[in-house]
């Protein structure tokens, strides 16, 4: 039975001051309905006092038949804070682009009020809806209500994680392919890979509609799908003139910042040497009304980003320089099959695919997945002469 008394939280209360919305206020709000949140606040206050966390090393819990989607969490001070002795989070697949109706949000809120702490993250760093804190017995009932409402769990452990995408064609004029559709389709297609961990380690897919990369795929997706175009930038000279008239310094702020200096602004005329353009987006970003991506659209596929653990952080690197928008879904599916096969066969335990490529070498990796090397894959060819020639090429 809830104990309504809330002991003081001197340190945390200070975080209710100031103009930015306060998570402490949120926890207190939730605590009005669910006293587990008061325990959470108390334990957190003691973390603030002692400068250390009070959670035990996570344990394996979940819903029946799924190997992931729930992060087991137990308080290290269960006697003091019995209501958060168990305090697992549930990861829920978000709808592509993080769009909701108010009804959908209320449905989610109601489910979580019934079965959990009433605290959430909208959203987790991977993109999932995070239901923050419940005990083991509530997992299965929460799951059942979620699926009834049309929602399902995300991934955890050595599995595919919920793919995410930028808002794309839903609201952005630059989206070079339908990011939300691709994200949604992939999420549905690979439910098994998400729910029954069978990979060497985690695998993340992120879809950005253009090189601005608004889901930060380059930094954190094992497979980054980033929109781009092949033909010339579409240019509206009248609109260019408008920007200039409005005070934009086109030479300095546009041309001089073009990475390949392929733009020229001369006597009120903007010229782009499109063959030299590397589709960086800068000029388009600055003059959205005047310049637009071309019409021959598609995406670059990049591979292998990750955070620093274990062997150092990696940024995504180019794997397929261009796939036409129409062929994107087919190509991605085919590629994923080959990537996962190769990784299954050669990946070590807890080795992300980017690290695997580093270990076996890009050339061997390409052989393994059946792609030919192209110069777009590298910033520059090797500078060392330590080449492993193939048996069959040397006599």
């Amino acid at each position: 039975m809830p104990d309504d008394e809330r002991r003081p939280t001197k340190l945390l209360d200070q975080l209710e001051e100031g103009p930015w919305p306060s998570f402490v206020t949120e926890i207190k709000k939730a605590g009005e309905k669910n006293p587990a949140c008061n325990d959470l606040l108390q334990q957190l206050e003691s973390s603030y006092e002692e400068k250390r966390g009070h959670w035990k090393h996570g344990g394996m819990v979940g819903v029946r038949g799924y190997g992931g989607g729930v992060i087991g969490r137990y308080s290290a001070m269960p006697e003091q804070f019995p209501r958060i002795a168990h305090f697992h989070t549930i990861r829920v697949n978000h709808p592509s682009g993080w769009f909701y109706t108010s009804d959908a949000l209320r449905t989610l809120a109601d489910i979580w009020e019934r079965h959990g702490s009433g605290l959430t993250n909208f959203h987790g760093s991977t993109g999932d809806i995070i239901f923050l804190g419940t005990n083991t017995t509530e997992l299965e009932p929460t799951f059942n209500e979620l699926t009834q409402a049309g929602f399902d769990l995300g991934g955890s452990g050595s599995a595919l994680r919920t793919p995410s995408s930028c808002v794309g064609q839903a609201r952005c004029e630059w989206a070079c392919y339908d990011t939300m559709k691709l994200c949604n389709d992939l999420t549905h297609q690979y439910q098994d890979e998400m729910h029954r961990p069978a990979f060497p380690y985690k695998f993340k897919i992120k879809c950005s509609g253009c090189p601005n990369d608004c889901v930060a795929a380059s930094a954190r997706a094992d497979l980054s799908i980033i929109g781009t175009w092949k033909d010339a930038i579409r240019q509206d000279d009248a609109a260019v003139a408008e920007y200039a008239a409005a005070g934009l310094d086109i030479r300095r702020d546009v041309c001089d910042r073009c990475p390949t200096r392929c733009m020229d602004w001369d006597n009120g005329k903007l010229t782009i040497e499109n063959r030299e353009c590397v589709r960086c987006m800068h000029c388009i970003n600055v003059m959205p009304k005047a310049l637009r991506p071309g019409k021959e659209r598609g995406a670059v596929l990049l591979i292998g980003a990750k955070a620093p653990i274990v062997k150092g952080a990696l940024l995504s690197s180019v794997l397929v320089p261009f796939v036409a928008a129409e062929e994107l879904e087919g190509t991605v599916n085919e590629l994923l099959k080959r990537l996962w096969d190769f990784w299954d066969e050669h990946g070590e335990n807890r080795e992300r695919i980017g690290e695997l490529i580093q270990r076996v070498g890009l050339a061997n990796f390409l052989d393994g997945i059946g792609l030919d090397p192209t110069p777009e894959m590298v910033a520059a060819p090797r500078d060392n002469p330590f080449i492993f020639f193939r048996e069959e090429e040397a006599n």
């Binding site: 108010s102 909208f122 808002v167 795929a217 930094a219 702020d253 960086c280």
Partner: protein
């Protein structure tokens, strides 16, 4: 049992997003032509059809109670037919057809404590992680730090007065769940002492070969301690990454005296102008000082101010530093350059200055 299994729904994935798109978006999906910033936090997208969509973006603590979610739902009902979305940096976006609703919505949001902003050349919401709220691995709290930072940087969120967008991220341990490593300013919780091994349980709770293999620097060796099969850590080879703890609860690293924060700067993700880049070390250590982390907040505010004063229009933090050079960055910010700034990990040699290009 068999009947119950039959009823149970699994692997349905998320609801299709199309159900959640407002009509104006459905009508203009893939047809947007250009956009304009109308005010900080307010965007207007114009379709080839001539239709306009207004977006009002508000800041969020990300950690939301169900009641706050209901509040957002109610606002969406009131101003935009019940449609809203969240952004990749955890802001809330209301999707309006009628521009007359912008102002009232903005006012209601402000009144409820949710500032409108985060667009264009501002500091948007801080991407962050669980911290002491939920993670076993945290060297610091994330939410409290973010709240403290955003209180200080508040007007940088509500105004678009910076040379370019500044993306800040916080991760509470080296796992970097916020993927902070490519941020304009990255704040990272760190340990500074090797794990304190719990020899009594190690063998029981983890596999010794896995623990040994987890260490990037080969600091862990098998050992028998007090008659128990366990491991030892060669202290000089440990750089406190915590990967051993991830695989074994018997290797905790937290240490109230020595844990703290480090700050990395100049990373980016977009391909705009320059290629994506990692953030680089600015400040190796600041004390873990809840509830307000004044040292960290001051340090970040200082970096932002120096950047705001020195960078040219459209120059992201890392692009500005590349232009002025790292020595000048340290000079202008007054940050001390130490031995810790010198890389000594795998590709260290490639970070050395291999030219005589020097400013005096």
């Amino acid at each position: 049992m068999a009947t119950e299994t039959a009823k149970r729904i699994t692997d349905i994935g998320p609801p299709n997003y199309e159900k959640f798109l407002p009509p104006v978006i459905k009508r203009n999906y893939g047809k947007w032509q250009y956009h304009e910033g109308i005010a900080p936090g307010v965007l207007c997208h114009v379709s080839e059809s001539g239709e306009r969509l207004y977006t009002v973006r508000a800041g969020s603590p990300r950690l939301l109670s169900v009641d706050t979610i209901r509040l957002f739902a109610a606002l969406a009902d009131k101003y935009c037919g019940g449609y809203l979305r969240f952004t990749s940096r955890n802001n809330i976006e209301f999707l309006l057809e009628d521009p007359a609703n912008i102002e009232p919505l903005r006012k209601e949001l402000f009144d409820a404590g949710f500032p409108v902003g985060g667009t264009g050349a501002s500091i948007s919401n801080i991407v962050h992680t669980q911290g002491w709220i939920h993670c076993h691995s945290a060297a610091t709290d994330a939410s409290g730090l973010v709240k403290s930072l955003m209180d200080r940087l508040y007007s940088r969120f509500t105004e678009e007065t910076l040379p370019a967008r500044v993306r800040i991220a916080v991760a509470c341990c080296l796992n970097m769940c916020g993927a902070v490593h490519c941020s304009d300013i990255a704040i990272l919780g760190i340990h500074r002492k090797p794990p304190k091994i719990n020899h009594d349980i190690l063998k029981k709770v983890s596999e010794i070969p896995t623990v040994i293999a987890a260490c990037p620097t080969d600091a862990i060796r098998p050992a028998v301690v007090g008659g128990k099969e366990s491991v030892t850590v060669i202290d000089e080879k440990c750089m406190y990454c915590g990967n051993c703890y991830t695989v074994s609860p018997a290797m905790p690293l937290d240490d109230p005296e020595n844990d703290g924060l480090s700050i990395y700067v100049g990373g980016k993700v977009s391909n705009a102008r320059t290629a994506p880049k990692f953030s680089k070390l600015a400040i190796p250590f600041l004390p873990n000082n809840p509830p307000r982390w004044p040292e960290v907040v001051d340090a970040v505010a200082n970096i932002v101010e120096v950047y705001a004063g020195g960078a040219k229009k459209f120059e992201r933090m890392g692009e500005w530093i590349d232009r002025i050079g790292w020595p000048r960055f340290f000079e202008l910010t007054g940050i001390e350059f130490t031995r810790y700034h010198l890389d000594d990990f795998k590709h260290a040699g490639l970070t050395y200055a291999r030219s005589t290009h020097i400013r005096y």
